[in-house]
Amino acid sequence: MASVTYDHATRLYPGSETPAVDSLNLEIADGEFLVLVGPSGCGKSTSLRMLAGLEDVNSGRILIGDRDVTDVQPKDRDIAMVFQNYALYPHMTVADNMGFALKIAGTPKAEIRQRVEEAAKILDLTQYLDRKPKALSGGQRQRVAMGRAIVRQPQVFLMDEPLSNLDAKLRVQTRTQIASLQRRLGVTTVYVTHDQTEALTMGDRIAVLKDGLLQQVGTPREMYDTPANVFVAGFIGSPAMNIGSFKVADGKANLGETHIPLSRTTLDALTEDDKGEITLGFRPESLDVTSEGTEGAFPVNVNLVEELGSDAFVYGQLASAEAAEHITSGAGESQIIVRVDPRNTPMKGDRVWVKIREGEQHHFSPATGNRLPN
């Protein structure tokens, strides 16, 4: 087992002027489950394939443990791409299906059996070892396929959207299985997904990429509570954060009838380049429904109420049409999302007054997109 280090690792495709992965610096600790996440084309799969040895590293280096593997061929890197191939052979026993790669590598029989038995124990397959795969259920077969990677005892597991071909139900099940299995094995794992929910639920830490650049890396909690920039703020969380551009005047952020007080520290962090504006983010659950006239409260016209049992969300629009344009959320342009008490939901067409709970707004510089202190 080992750590993984990306040291200014860059991948520039031939004929392209902007790197697909631009000087990536990332340290993944021994035994850690790290998720690379971002929209399509962000460089997450390329980053993983650079670690696998499938993409050239044009500058910088990649280390597995203390070993520089930048120019080492994929099969000599001691990594396993999980789910790359999940064919099971019908005439071979489950044990042989799990151990055949070791047999190819010339591992002694007794050692193969021992490693297979260990893996089977972890995977709950011990009693099936001498049966044929045909006798297994779908889920058990899937575990045999995982077992094949486990018996190789690689330094690092790599997984590139392994769940994308599964239907929604199986996806959630397998997600949990992979995460718990990884924790039991303690093998360093790098996992790629475009799905931020998958990232939040599976990773010890998450690295968000966009346009080949690492935006932020941290625990799911850190990413959620203190997004480093507007992109991460909008990307992490479901439903997504509301983000608005406000004018700064009288120590407040102003948008139409909305006036939100800003701290001295925040105000001081703004620069000329921000041109007297500030970007404010607030999650749907950071809004309280209140009454007209409360300081900092602003009116929202309700377009839709989504009831989820334990939660309810209002999808609406700032009452002032002019101001509404300056707000976006996961629901789209001019849309604002508010979490409300599921036992006391407004009706479509109502107008509700909401207020950002104190200290729960996020401030960003309009010029750089970076987070400003509270």
Binding site: Q73, Q84, P90, I104, G138, R141
Partner: protein, 421 residues
């Protein structure tokens, strides 16, 4: 029929609409299936007769279906041997409104043989070597076009007879990716996957008592790596020699032609004082003999078959003393006087046994065998009669062997087919 059914196809066949898309593929009535497919696969696959041909239908997720369809179309444009995509159907729902998986439809490749069929029925010496050779050529051709396969295996390949050897076709592009150019890492990893998969598949045949003539499965896997590496080197490596050895340029081109490749572009550089020359093939196209035969006769056959037919044509040219004549004219006469009469003398009921070009190859082989036994030349007409009477009737029909690959069970599968073997 639900209104939301969407068909994406380059040339949609209206007969597609008559198929029961509202039924899960696994439950399709047997009377519309071309044969009862065997085996367990990650996806449900069925063969269906439609408009006088056979199509293969695979149930998969919508995005994956479109992706694979696009990849297969690209491979077709790049002229790489692969199954031909027909279309994608999405928006399927059952009668009671339950959504069903999308399907990818491909044409069944006529006269193609899954490797399991080759092992379980038609054991011939050296079979494994020939399959491995064919797969190495396919993999090199795919890699030259920038295609990373991701799951190279015997089960994801179909084989067609090719004058005693085989040519290989890609059947499953699900894990593939098309790049402008592959890195060395991508090629070597693909090759490593191939090696491990092939050994696994052979070990499986071994465990099932189906493998003969093979002592060491691991060695066979290594053979693929060796063949691939040799071919790749010959096709792409730079070669340096002194300026007075210029014959080596045409020698290289000839070697490539012999391997069945044409050189589309050769880069030649000399050093400053002009004493050494470096050459490197930049663009190579497979199908050298195929194209030549096609140009001369219009026959569309496999590479080795083409080579065989061209050899026979050359023999004909010498035998009829027409070396000075235009190649095109001689080719035309060979076609009407030799090839077509030979094929026409195969009775219609035996024509499903083998492709015409392969039958012609076997007749030539048979003529040689008869001549050796008799100690003198045998006229072709006599050889044809002997072959049609004594050899061909004992061969199985190969136009459509509609077995699914049964070599692999897929780990992830919703419902299981238990009709394996």
């Amino acid at each position: 029929m639900p209104a939301a059914l969407q068909i994406t196809a380059a040339a949609p066949d209206p007969a597609l609409l008559d198929l029961p898309w509202h039924i899960p593929l696994a439950e399709w009535p047997e009377d519309i299936l071309a044969a009862l497919p065997r085996g367990i696969s990650r996806h449900v696959v069925r063969f269906v007769r439609m408009s006088g041909r056979v199509i293969a239908i695979k149930e998969i997720g919508e995005s994956v279906a479109h992706r694979e369809y696009g990849l297969l179309r690209s491979l077709q444009r790049l002229d790489v041997p692969a199954v031909e995509p027909v279309g994608v159907i999405t928006g399927r729902t059952s009668r009671d409104g339950e959504p069903l998986d999308s399907v990818l439809i491909t044409k069944h490749l006529r006269f193609s043989l899954p490797y399991r069929a080759l092992f379980s029925r038609y054991l011939a010496p050296d079979m494994v070597t020939r399959l491995i050779d064919a797969l190495a050529v396919l993999l090199v051709r795919l890699h030259l076009t920038g295609f990373y396969w991701g799951d190279v295996s015997l089960s994801n390949t179909l084989f067609r007879r090719d004058a005693g050897a085989f040519s290989a076709y890609l059947v499953d592009a699900e894990t593939g990716d098309l790049h402008p150019e592959l890195t060395r890492g991508q090629r070597e990893y693909d090759l490593e996957i191939a090696r491990v998969n092939i050994i696994g598949e052979l070990m499986d045949l071994e465990a099932g008592g189906l493998l003969q003539d093979v002592e060491d499965t691991v060695e066979i896997g290594g053979m693929l790596v060796q063949r691939y590496t040799e071919l790749w080197k010959e096709l792409t490596e730079a070669e340096e020699f002194s300026a007075d050895e210029r014959w080596r340029v045409s020698a290289r081109i000839q070697r490539l032609n012999q391997l069945g490749f044409d050189v589309g572009e050769l880069q030649m550089t000399t050093d400053v004082d002009g004493t050494t020359v470096q050459i490197q093939p930049k663009v190579v196209d497979a199908g050298h003999h195929h194209r030549r035969l096609m140009r001369l006769t219009g026959l569309d056959v496999q590479e080795n078959q083409a080579r065989r037919l061209l050899n026979d044509m050359d023999t004909y040219r010498v035998a009829t003393d027409r070396l000075g004549e235009d190649e095109e004219i001689v080719a035309h006469d060979w076609l009407t006087e030799v090839f077509e009469p030979t094929i026409a003398s195969i009775p219609p009921n035996l024509r499903r046994k083998l492709e015409p070009a392969e039958a012609f190859h076997e007749i030539l082989e048979h003529r040689w065998y008869l001549a050796e036994k008799a100690g003198h030349d045998i006229p072709t007409s006599e050889a044809v009669a002997a072959y049609v009477n004594n050899v061909l009737p004992n061969r199985p029909d190969e136009e459509a062997i509609l077995e699914l690959d049964t070599a692999t069970l897929r780990a992830i599968s919703g419902d299981l087919d238990d009709d394996e073997e």
